[in-house]
C-alpha cells in the first residue's frame, strides 16, 4: 500500500474532479431544460406531441448510458455525411459527445419524474385554483410546478447522484474525469487499490455535497 502515489499525481485527480463536476453539472442543467417541457407535454392529449416525447423517453430509459455514449461517439463518426458537415466540429470532441449523451439520458429520467409528480397532483388544489379563475398557465406556474418540485426533490437528488456515478463511463471515450485519472494512475503505477480508492473518495465527497445541499433545500420547503 503506497498512498504517496496519489499525492504525487494529485494534479491528475484535481483535473479529473473538475472535469466530472462541470460535465455532470452542465448535463444536469441541459437535462432539466429538456425534462420540464417534455415531462409536462408527456401528458398532452395530442399524439403528435406526446408521441415523440414518449419515444425519446422510452429509448433513453430503455438503454444503458454506455451504449448511448458509444452510439454518439463511435457510431456517429461512421457517417461520412456527418463528418463533412459543420456538426463534426462538435462531434469530433469527446467532451461534446459525453455531454450530449449525459444530457439526453438525464433529461429522459427527469422528464419521468416531472410527469410522475404532475400526474399525482392533488386534484383539490387544482380545482381550488380553477375556482379562483386562474388560467391554465397561471395554475401551472402557481400551483402545479411549486407543489410538484417539492415532491420531486427526493427523486431528483437521486437522479443527480446516479448521474455523478454514471459519469464514470466518460473515461472510455478518452475523457480524463475522476475515473479516467484513476485509470491513468493505476496504469502507470500498477496500484489499482490506491488509485481507485482515491477516486472513490472524490466521488463520495461530490455525492455527500449534493445530499447535504438537497437536505438544506428540502428543509427550506418544510418551513413554509
Amino acid at each position: 500500500m503506497d498512498f504517496s502515489i496519489i499525492l504525487n499525481e494529485y494534479q491528475f485527480y484535481l483535473d479529473g474532479l473538475w472535469t466530472t463536476t462541470w460535465l455532470v453539472a452542465l448535463s444536469l442543467l441541459i437535462g432539466l431544460v429538456i425534462a420540464l417541457p417534455a415531462g409536462v407535454l408527456r401528458s398532452h392529449p395530442n399524439w403528435l406531441i406526446k408521441g415523440p416525447i414518449w419515444a425519446y423517453m422510452y429509448f433513453f430509459r430503455g438503454t444503458p448510458l454506455l451504449v448511448q455514449l458509444f452510439l454518439i461517439y463511435y457510431g456517429v463518426a461512421q457517417f461520412d455525411s456527418l463528418r463533412e458537415s459543420w456538426l463534426w466540429y462538435y462531434f469530433q470532441e469527446a467532451w461534446f459527445c459525453a455531454l450530449l449523451a449525459f444530457s439526453l439520458n438525464t433529461g429522459a429520467y427527469t422528464a419521468e419524474i416531472v410527469r410522475g409528480v404532475i400526474s399525482t397532483m392533488p386534484k383539490g388544489e387544482l380545482e381550488a385554483a380553477k375556482a379562483y379563475g386562474m388560467s391554465r398557465l397561471q395554475i401551472l406556474r402557481r400551483i402545479t410546478l411549486p407543489n410538484s418540485l417539492r415532491r420531486a426533490l427526493p427523486a431528483y437528488s437521486n437522479e443527480i447522484i446516479f448521474m455523478i456515478h454514471g459519469s464514470a463511463i466518460a473515461g472510455v471515450v478518452t475523457i480524463v474525469d475522476i475515473t479516467g485519472a484513476a485509470r491513468v494512475v493505476n496504469a502507470r503505477y500498477y496500484a489499482p487499490f490506491e488509485a481507485y480508492l482515491a477516486a472513490g473518495v472524490l466521488y463520495m465527497c461530490l455525492t455527500f455535497s449534493v445530499i447535504y445541499l438537497f437536505k438544506l433545500w428540502e428543509k427550506s420547503y418544510q418551513h413554509q
Binding site: A77, T174, V184, N186, Y190
Partner: protein
C-alpha cells in the same frame, strides 16, 4: 512445543518444495486486441504472434498452458493477483515495470512509430507537436514517451490500440503511436488503411521503450523465468521461432541477441 516446531518445519518444507517445482501447468495472460501479436477471432478464439510463441514455449517445456484473456490496463495487477502466472503480450521490459514484476529475456523487439493521414507532416519537436491530437494506448511505453516528450500536445489515451485507430480514421486524432508492426497489421493493412502512412523515424530509445518485449512473471517465480529463458533459447535454436516469425512478418522481429 516440539510438535508445533515439527509442524512448522513440515509446513516450511512443503512450501519450499512447492515453490521450486517444475512448472507443468502455466496460465498465461494475453491481450487479444493487438494484432498481429494477439487478436480475438470472430469465434472468440485468440490468435497471433504472441499466442504462437506462448504455445511453442509451452510445447518446449512440455507444460499444459491455459491462455487467459485480459485487458491491457489490468494485466499487471492480474498477474500480481495470481489470475495467471506469466504475461505474453508484447510487453516491453522497462525499469518502471521491473519495480512490480520480473521479466524473462526479450522474445521480440519491434520499434514504435507514429502513423498519420497521408500528407500530414511530423517533426519531433515540442513546438511542432503543441496542440496536436495524439492517440496512444494507455500505460504503454509509447504513452510514457509522448507524455515526457510532448507534454503540450493533446494526448488521448485509449484502452486498446484498435480504439485509437477508430478515432484516427474518424479524424479525431492527428497521430497515433504504436508498435510499427501493430500499426501495419491493425490499421494499414485493413480496409481504408491506404489513406494512412508512417511518419517520422523508428523509435527505440531504451529510456522509454526498454529493451524489447519480454515475458512478465511474478518476482517470486524466478524458477519459471529460468525455464522460460531456456525455452526461448531452444525455440530460437531449433527454427520454431523463425517459422512463427515468418508467418506474421517479413522482417526480423528479434533484433540483436
Amino acid at each position: 512445543m516440539k510438535k508445533l516446531s515439527l509442524l512448522i518445519a513440515l509446513f516450511a518444507f512443503s512450501f519450499n518444495a512447492a515453490s521450486a517445482k517444475e512448472w507443468k501447468e502455466i496460465r498465461i495472460g494475453v491481450e487479444g486486441a493487438y494484432p498481429p501479436f494477439s487478436k480475438t477471432e470472430e469465434d472468440g478464439s485468440i490468435t497471433g504472434f504472441d499466442i504462437d510463441i506462448a504455445n511453442a514455449l509451452c510445447a518446449e517445456l512440455e507444460a499444459k498452458c491455459t491462455l487467459v484473456k485480459q485487458d491491457w490496463d489490468g494485466i499487471i495487477p492480474a498477474l500480481l493477483g495470481r489470475k495467471f502466472d506469466a504475461i505474453i503480450a508484447t510487453m516491453d521490459i522497462t525499469e518502471e515495470r521491473q519495480k512490480k514484476v520480473a521479466f524473462t529475456k526479450k522474445y521480440q523487439h519491434i520499434p514504435a512509430r507514429f502513423v498519420a493521414k497521408k500528407g500530414v507532416t511530423y517533426e519531433a519537436t515540442e513546438a511542432f507537436m503543441e496542440g496536436k491530437k495524439i492517440g496512444v494506448q494507455r500505460a504503454t511505453t509509447m504513452d510514457l514517451y509522448i507524455s515526457d516528450n510532448f507534454p503540450s500536445a493533446k494526448i488521448k489515451r485509449y484502452g486498446s490500440a484498435d480504439e485509437a485507430y477508430l478515432d484516427l480514421k474518424a479524424g479525431r486524432l492527428d497521430y497515433v503511436m504504436a508498435d510499427s508492426a501493430a500499426i501495419a497489421d491493425g490499421l494499414l493493412a485493413k480496409e481504408g488503411g491506404d489513406k494512412f502512412e508512417f511518419v517520422g523515424p523508428k523509435l527505440n530509445d531504451p529510456k522509454w521503450f526498454g529493451y524489447g518485449a519480454g515475458i512478465a512473471i511474478r518476482k517470486q517465480n524466478k524458477d519459471l523465468a529460468e525455464q522460460l529463458n531456456k525455452a526461448i533459447d531452444a525455440i530460437r535454436a531449433d527454427g520454431t521461432y523463425k517459422t512463427i516469425q515468418d508467418k506474421y512478418f517479413t522482417f526480423d522481429v528479434y533484433g540483436q541477441e
